[in-house]
């Protein structure tokens, strides 16, 4: 799956996200409107720009509430963006109407975290998968059953199970159904939102292998969201690290993990418990918690927790800038200037 040498110069951009914002207004009380207080927003995604290349697996990591799921859902237009552009193969889909989006929907599909709650319990697997085939008329009616069985086979499910209901499957099998559904329309772009987080360790590896095989075989472009850095490191070509609605660092997976440039990336990689009882001393600890996205700290969002914080960080928000080929960081004082790239 992830050949480490992923050549970006020869690949075209499938998705370009430019200065994308998704703000949710905070519910106002009567007192707020009487006192004419300003409308406050949760800035879940705040001025994010990134490109997703054809055939790559881009990881999106960050802690809960950092906006990674909102970003993904806005990109495939499950949410209406507040501002910004989303180019899918050059076409801006950021402000298209539902009707205009409909013919584009087959190109973008999603795999969800909890396989059970994302499958209708009253529909058989055959019905779940064939529903989209029929709606989007991608195969002639008499070939629908055949296509369903083909998809199930591709995802490691026996075609005999087509008549069964989601409740009759184990968690891993349910996720296979979810993947089969996402693949049914031959999408160009798949968003996998924590696809293995709800699964047991022994099942996780099966699903990761399946996603890897499918990506290779079908040349899929995947946006892989996860908080499990081990999994992300294994499966992705590039990684974007998010914190409070902002992309803090973006770069090729190996170089980013080996030599993080942003202090937050360093914290994240160090915080994951090491699988070695002989290595228990931590050279690095992080204090405090993620601030509320309503009361965002001024300047760099990470400055209250950052060990390298300076006056500049408290006043000025750093922009995401390129510090080496294919390496971007939003920090005034990147840890290693262009090292390890």
């Amino acid at each position: 799956m992830a050949d480490i040498q992923f050549d970006y110069t020869s690949r075209s951009k499938l998705v370009e996200v430019k200065d994308l914002c998704k703000w949710f207004p905070v519910k106002r009380t009567i007192a707020d409107s009487l006192l004419r207080r300003e409308v406050r927003y949760v800035k879940a995604v705040d001025h994010v720009s990134l490109d997703i290349y054809q055939g790559e697996c881009l990881g999106l990591v960050g802690e809960s509430g950092c906006g990674k799921s909102t970003l993904a859902r806005t990109i495939i237009r499950l949410y209406e963006p507040t501002s910004g552009e989303i180019l899918l193969e050059g076409t801006d889909i950021a402000h298209m109407s539902a009707r205009e989006l409909r013919p584009l929907r087959p190109h973008m599909q999603m795999i969800f975290q909890d396989p059970y709650s994302s499958l209708n319990p009253r529909m058989s697997v055959r019905a779940i998968i064939s529903e989209l085939l029929l709606y989007h008329h991608v195969v002639p009616k008499d070939q629908v059953d055949q296509r369903v069985e083909e998809l199930m086979g591709m995802c490691g499910l026996s075609a005999d199970y087509a008549g069964r209901y989601p409740g009759e499957f184990s968690g891993g099998q349910q996720q296979r159904v979810g993947i089969a559904r996402a693949l049914a329309l031959n999408p160009k772009f798949i968003i996998a939102d924590e696809p293995v987080s709800a699964l047991d360790v022994s099942i996780q590896a099966q699903i990761i292998n399946l996603l890897g095989d499918l990506q290779q075989k079908l040349g899929l472009t995947i946006l892989f969201i996860s908080h499990d850095l081990r999994v992300v490191r294994h499966i992705t070509h590039r990684v974007a690290v998010m914190y409070l609605g902002h992309v803090m660092e973006l770069g090729p997976t190996e170089t980013l993990f080996d030599g993080p440039c942003h202090p937050y990336t360093q914290v994240l990689t160090k915080a994951a418990p090491e699988m070695n009882p002989l290595k228990r001393t931590r050279e690095y600890a992080i204090e405090g918690e993620t601030p509320s996205p309503i009361h965002m700290p001024p300047g760099c969002r990470f400055h209250p927790r950052c060990p390298y914080c300076t006056d500049q960080c408290k006043a000025e928000m750093p922009e995401l800038r390129q510090i080496a080929p294919s390496r971007f960081v939003a920090c005034h004082h990147p840890l290693q200037k262009g090292a390890g790239v």
Partner: protein, 340 residues
Amino acid sequence: MIGVAERILEVKDLKTYFPGRDELVKAVDGVSFEVYKGETFGLVGESGCGKSQTCRSILGLLKKPGRVVDGQIILDGQDITHLKEKELRKLRGKKMSVIFQEPMTSLSPVLKIKKQLMEVFDDTPMTRAEKQQRAVELLRMVGIPSPELRMEEYTFQFSGGMRQRAMIAMALGARPKLLIADEPTTALDVTIQDQIMKLINSLKQELDMSIILVTHDLGVIAQMCDRVAVMYSGLIMEMCDVVTLFASPRHPYTYALMSSLPDPANKGARLNAIQGSPPNLAHLPEGCPFWPRCTECADICKRERPEMREIAPGHSVRCHCLDKTAAYRGIIEAPQGKEA
């Protein structure tokens, strides 16, 4: 070290069953282990392997119709297997205490943190002011800033990490000898998980208690535990000290769990997934419960359930094929002078 240490808890052949209308779910099917003073004992396994039910059996908090049908639980020299609820209540908090995975569901949403913390001292002769003072100290101990103000708040005003800290404060209020931590960091982000793990470790030293740590995360086990038991389908499959577990596992299940983890040195390669899924506890396969997924499976595995065998001091394994598993290499190098 282990030979001379004092036992705080002894579980002998514990069986906890959940009778259904026409099937019997054997959640815990003959589990034996000891926890020594001052150690952290890890119980690791996948969902449904019985690790949580083992803990609930010890605490006397089994949900109906679950019942301890056989075995013995000895806490600090006292047999607590069949104690009445009234007597158990006297032990909970003082002798043993528990923190659960999701603090929001185990804290009351309608009481102030202060009130919930002060309840810990309800059956002591302390005055209200003294209780309040103790509550402030507890919150300070678990690292909650400005505890005098925060204790006037409700749980929903706390973040996930803060709630877990409050939960720990409550659990440790009466200085228990044994803390049972059931997935204490699973619901938390990695940076917060790191903080909570450090907090639990430092409090363990300070209060000189023992911990049973339940988790499915081998990383947490590696960082926190002294000894570990690996559970599968209501049985302990392998039990040893934590370094031996990672350096030279001997049970095929332990080995398979470790080899299925992504390895940074082997990026992009196919993972060694364990085929199939865990068995239904009401319809366990005959013989060893792991045989349908086991790579070493022999004929005898399908017929006879293997017994726990001590293969080295402090290292027990439940497997028929120990000669085949002798070649297993763990994911860390065994330290010098400590060959398994």
